[in-house]
């Protein structure tokens, strides 16, 4: 019985947290987010080459470090806590898609570049009518002999405007109605139009990606992508836990410091109890996210139950805490300069991505055969 991150993993967390606080404070996050790229390529280079983050979970034969999923989950938590502007999450998810669905040649072709940080890859799945991007898709594959092309449109593709490789879900081809398969599309492919969107979440660039007879290569032959959505939900939960912790830390620090009526406002139960409720919400959601990461790492079928559960719990803890953080901060919390709204935006964006808490519970209810 050892349901906790081990000391090496906690050391890794501590050093990563220090690195991000030092190299990528929120002032830098804002700067980087406003650039065309939406992240600081120098920082990404350090995260890749110095810390080896994008290759942590990849096999050693593809230049990775061969860890399980616990270490990437720690990276998600810490980059979520710091709102780090980087394509880490996009590369993580895309590489997991390649690892789970690609054949050996595709893995050898794509993974070393992702591991080194030279290739930025992303998952392009969501469509307006399909938040998870695996059912009810409009984007369609057309096979003509060995040639495959995609036509359709994807939204909210993380780093979609600049990624070198896009892993795209599409219906059509030889899969049945309502099913989808993954395709690899190069960023410079003909018939590809990429438009950065005016994002509600200011610290994560997203793009609309249009395909018009765009050449694509099928990624393996699996037609069931739910495992990928469950993994994504799991890792997003970890990211949201980091964000929730940051909100609680901000609120508590302010409540200790800010004086009104000759007392720190945190001594008033009206404020103290709200902070306590944030911790109660966080603590439960954190346990759920940890369990989801654990079963994902074990490749246990329990992930089908725990992933939507953890996603819903984390989203509710994060949106609750991001909102109350603003309330505790008071007027200053409502300003553009204060960072609270960056977390508030991330909280509601993550909550909606892949489906709201209610949508997650609907999936959970189906899977439990309620």
């Amino acid at each position: 019985m050892d349901f906790a991150y081990d000391s090496d993993q906690e050391d890794f967390r501590t050093s990563l947290r220090r690195f991000l606080a030092d190299k990528a404070p929120l002032s830098k996050v804002r700067e980087a987010s406003e650039t065309d790229l939406g992240y600081d390529p120098e920082l990404w280079k350090q995260m890749s080459t110095q810390l080896g983050l994008p290759g942590l979970h990849l096999p050693e034969e593809h230049d990775g470090s061969g860890t399980g999923l616990l270490e990437p989950a720690i990276v998600m938590e810490e980059t979520g806590r710091a709102l780090t502007a980087s394509p880490y999450a996009a590369c993580l998810l895309a590489s997991l898609a390649v690892l789970r669905h690609g054949d050996a040649d595709q893995q050898a072709e794509l993974l070393p570049g992702i591991a080194s940080g030279e290739t930025v890859a992303t998952l392009a799945m969501a469509e307006l009518a399909s938040p998870a991007g695996i059912t009810g898709l409009q984007t369609t594959a057309l096979s003509r002999g060995a040639e495959v092309t995609l036509t359709g449109s994807k939204t909210l593709v993380e780093h979609g405007h600049s990624a070198d490789v896009l892993i795209v879900s599409a219906t059509g081809g030889d899969v049945g109605p309502g099913q989808a398969r993954l395709y690899v599309v190069r960023g410079d492919a003909p018939g590809l139009t990429r438009t950065r969107q005016e994002a509600f979440d200011l610290t994560r660039p997203v793009a609309k990606v249009d395909f018009d007879g765009t050449p694509a290569v099928p990624l393996g032959d699996a037609a069931d992508l739910t495992d990928l959505v469950d993994l994504w939900c799991t890792l997003l939960s970890a990211e949201m836990i980091g964000g929730t912790e940051a909100c609680l830390d901000m609120a508590v620090a302010y409540a200790k410091d800010r004086q009104q009526f000759n007392r720190p406002i945190g001594s008033f139960q009206a404020v103290k109890h709200r902070c306590a409720e944030m911790l109660v919400a966080l603590d439960g959601a954190r346990a759920a996210a940890q369990y989801a990461v654990f079963v994902a790492d074990q490749d246990s079928p329990e992930i089908a139950i725990v992933a939507p559960l953890a996603k819903a719990e984390a989203a509710e803890a994060f949106t609750f805490s991001a909102g109350w953080n603003i309330q505790v901060l008071g007027g200053i919390g409502f300003t553009w300069e204060q960072d609270a709204h960056l977390y508030f935006r991330r909280a509601w964006a993550d909550s909606a991505l892949l489906g709201t808490p209610a949508a997650q519970r609907a999936r959970l209810a189906d899977r439990l055969n309620l």
């Binding site: 019985m1 906790a4 609680l248 200790k256 008033f268 902070c275 409720e277 519970r361 439990l368």
Partner: protein, 423 residues
Amino acid sequence: MDVDYPPQAQEFRARVKAFLAENLPDGWTGIGGIPESEREAFREQWRRTLGEHQMLAVSWPKEYGGAGLSLVEQVVLAEEFALAGAPAGSENDAFGIGMLGNTLIHLGTEEQKQHYLPRILSGEQRWCQGYSEPDAGSDLAGIRTSAVLDGDSWVINGQKTWTSAGHLADHIFVLARTNPDAPKHRGITFLLVPMDQPGVEVRPIRNMAGYSLFNEVFFTDARTPAKEVVGAVDDGWRVAMALLGFERGVTATTDAIRFRADFDRLLALAQERGLTSDARIRDRLAWCHSRVEVMRFRGLQALTRSLAGKPPGPESAISKIIWSEYAQAYTELAMEILGPEALAPTGQRTGGLLQMPEAGTENSPQSWVETFMSARAGTIYAGSSQVQRNIIGEQLLGLPKEPRLDSGPFRELSKQRQPKVGA
């Protein structure tokens, strides 16, 4: 990271399972499956069986008649009893064995241990807890029940309340004020008091669910020998707080097991009424499932910490809030599922419950109404949710305490009370 129990624990688990299979009556579904008139006799018989098989006082060392089980064995035993819906002892054992016994083992004199522990174990003495008073609830250290030495005995006057199982008890451990000139936390003494004397009167309190599970206890010149002090005179607050720490996280994983069983009952209730396809009910059921799972995951974290030798700390305040608020939410959902059926509820009564009905209770509208009513108590007893949030805010988050109005000698405090608004 892993969630596996050590092999020795699993061997022990198999032994407990075998014991339960062998000794529980045929067709056992839980106490709730036994007619109410036969429950008391079953409980007595079952307690004797537990005693014969070294399954009472599992946390006590062997030299005092306990089972001397390791922490993980105690956890496994608690889990298996919870899964089987089997009681772990009598209602008074929670106080006698769990609280007082462990306190005496750590803080009692050798004479006290030799005298009391065998009697608690044999069932000769049935204990209850005299802590709360009408004017000392959340502010427990504000107790007014007094004890004054008269020759070689204490003379006790005052009133305790919310005394669970007090009507079944013949002994009570009492927090009494022995030094009103000291600050409120420093003039309290922990006394052991026999109840079969003219100066002690027990009156049942009927709770809002209709059951009398707790009592008022009145002391009028009640007496106990001068030596019946645990710890030092005027040092009872420390003893009272230490007592709360002796649970050592044994129940970390059982809340989830018990709430899981009652969730299954709730799900069946919804299914029987064809409501699981209703979008709102379905969402709330999935939410309930999630919260019970969260309890399970947090239990695994707590057990990991306990097995690493870390005593449970203020984070247990989070557990208290999670389960007690969940208890209200899932019973409110039951009321929603029942709708008008809840207004003239039919079927088996629970016979009274603290957290949830006994295993085996019929899935009746009546049982749900009683569970719903009883759930209001969970956020009040054993430290209200507001007290828990203070603990979380101050001890886990480091937020400053409120300015205090209750320092200085206890005797002076009542004079300084803030006037009541409108008085």
